[in-house]
């Protein structure tokens, strides 16, 4: 590594430490920090909660980064697929009750059905709309996915109206110690997010098809020469990305309220994460998600009126990271 490169890494480390130290400094100055055991436990709870939230963020991010990494497609409809996943989960959760059976389907079990549906949807979008424009200017697929997103919002609105929905799944607190509690649904969501993203990571690392996806991401022409059916890889990648987004939707549905128009929030978060972590870098997205979520929680917890400043803090960190390292935390410099 060049010396300049190494200097940048040090600078980046220092910047991130400073970013995380800022809420503490402001908190101490404004009297939001108490120097007792109880407050320390509160702080641990907040960090833990940020970590758990980061898991859900990562679910939005990894799908987007995968699609971008392989095809250089900026999928603006990503958040809408998350939203659709939330709706699919909600529909299946309520379906047995609706049919008069008097019970609900477990929202996690519904993934067995929703993920293949989302995969098929992504596959279809790629086949019908995007395959023709891969490798062209980046604006074309961006506009196409933008249109797809709007169509999805209106379709869901038309069917389900704009009412907010939520699934009251495992609403109780989980006692980690006497004083540290986190939501059971948050723990479950995090575990699911971790399992799914690690599963996909291992698939990319070890499975033949996963290796082919990575090869295509590195260089589609060479991959084609080596006998990889690049068109098929594109279809699988978009399907996989959509399935990951839909899994994120399932996790949203058991924690938060959603309506047809909340999709754009997930898109914004997903973009922030992949820009922070490194565009196209899978582990980078997971790292970016956790950093972003923990910082947001710390700011909200310690800074006066911090909840209104969460986004400002998050994006300041992203801009700072990009200035020091334009390719993101783990991204590879584009040549």
């Amino acid at each position: 590594m060049e010396q300049a490169e190494i200097r940048r890494v040090y600078l980046l480390g220092a910047f991130i430490v400073a970013a995380f130290a800022t809420p503490f400094a402001v908190g101490a100055w404004s009297g939001n920090i108490f120097y007792d055991r109880q407050w320390l436990m509160d702080l641990i709870t907040v960090c833990l909660n940020g970590l758990l939230q980061g898991g859900v963020y990562a679910m939005y991010g990894v799908g987007l980064t995968l699609i971008f990494g392989v095809m250089r497609i900026i999928n603006v409809a990503h958040g809408e697929i998350v939203m659709l996943g939330a709706y699919l989960t909600w529909v299946l959760f309520n379906a047995p009750e609706y049919l008069g059976l008097g019970w609900h389907l477990d929202p996690l079990l519904t993934m067995v059905i929703t993920l293949p549906i989302a995969f098929a949807l992504g596959f279809a979008i790629q086949k019908v709309l995007l395959n023709a424009v891969v490798g062209g200017p980046e604006l074309t697929p961006l506009l196409i996915t933008f249109g797809v997103g709007i169509a999805m919002i209106n379709l869901v609105e038309w069917i389900f109206t704009t009412d907010y929905h939520t699934i009251p799944y495992q609403p109780d607190a989980f006692h980690i110690t006497e004083t540290i509690f986190v939501g059971k649904n948050k723990i479950i969501s995090f575990a699911m997010a971790l399992a799914i993203s690690l599963g996909v990571f291992l698939f990319l690392k070890l499975h033949r098809l996963g290796k082919a996806i990575r090869a295509t991401a590195q260089n589609p022409e060479v991959a084609m020469v080596c006998g990889i059916d690049v068109q098929r890889i594109y279809l699988v990648t978009f399907g996989l990305g959509a399935a990951l987004a839909s899994a994120g939707g399932a996790l949203v549905s058991i924690q938060f309220g959603f309506n047809p128009e909340t999709g754009v929030q997930y898109t914004v978060v997903a973009f922030a994460i992949i820009v922070l972590g490194g565009r196209g870098h899978y582990l980078g997205a997971m790292l970016g998600a956790v950093l972003l979520a923990v910082l947001e929680n710390l700011v909200s917890f310690m800074v006066p009126n911090g909840s209104a400043m969460v986004e400002m803090a998050a994006y300041t960190m992203i801009v700072g990271v990009l200035l020091i390292r334009p390719q993101g935390l783990l991204g590879v410099k584009e040549t």
Binding site: T166, G306, A308
Partner: protein, 399 residues
Amino acid sequence: MKQHIWGMLTVLLGATLPFSGSTVLADHRSGNVVLVGGAISQTGRYAEPAGRQYNSVKLWVDQVNQRGGLLGHKVLLTMLDDKSDTQTAIKLYEKLITEDKVDLLVGPYSSGITDAVANVTERYHMPIVAYGAASADIWERGRKYIFAVNDIAENYQKGAAHLAKQIGVKRIAIIGEDSLFPRMSRKGLEQWAKQLGLQVVVAENYATQKQGDYTALLQKIKAQRVEAIFSNSYFDDAAAQIRQLREMNYDVKFFASTVGPGLPRFAKDLGPTAEYVLGFSQWEPNLSLGHPGMKEFIDAYKARYGTEPNYHSASAYASMQVFEAAVKQAGSFDREKLRDALSTIQVRTMFGTYKVDEKGMTNHEGLTFQIRNGKRMIVWPPHLAEVKPILPVPKWSER
């Protein structure tokens, strides 16, 4: 091409000229029709309450046509969608007044949007009954063509503040979305808190349309040993907050929200978590309130939409009743005559008695309810209370 543009300009100019005066009569329309128009959030974050108001307006239009219309004119309704967006609403109201030339204008939803739209309606001297707004600010700006039916935002937490005093709460937190209505509600509550001796230890607004995780904010409130939380919130934020209080196992003496719990979905979707939450209501479908025509309205609404009306539905319907009475009194659709009628008449609606002061505000008094077994039960003011509130609310571990 150039000629074409000049031609278009002349047509445009010609179209606007006849309406630079203030009087527009229904007679200008063919077929003896009077056009009632407005824009309301049919999509977006306000769509849930706004949809209920739209339902009531539609119901009224059909009923008034069955009764023979307004002054013998058949009522035609055109309701546009502002997508819960202020800029869109402003454009649509300009269009409604200048292009569609509506005879009666009905309001949008939310205080923020109404406040922005009022600048337009004021300019064209179009009287409007603001069923979707409750911030006193709107009437503090010396406007002459906007009339209130609702209790003001500043009073939304009045009942809950009194209940806090009753059960000996000292330290409170006020949180809410960073938009006009929650800010006004907070302002009013801060005054009530001062008057009642409640100490506001945390007061924060959060960014509009935030992700939905309020745990860190609630943790901050917990660290300050807050006993009761007043949340000036709509549906999604209120729902997230009460869920997260339960996840954190944080026992407050109560959680009071402004708009969210009044929406029927709140108790339904959240189930047991929503129990004992305090909420505010302008009106409840409860015949003991004793307003004339309540039963007929409730029955008709239920028959048509398959669900009970809530206060959003009721205030919109009452506004249309007020409009109907004002048109009858004015005897025409003339904007100035209508304005005069709206500012002087007294109408007993199914929502309460409409009578405005010189600013255009009413003294309609709101209710505070507690969710009990999934139902909203009035607990304040005392003379209207259906049940005694259960306060402090039971601990999460004992439910």
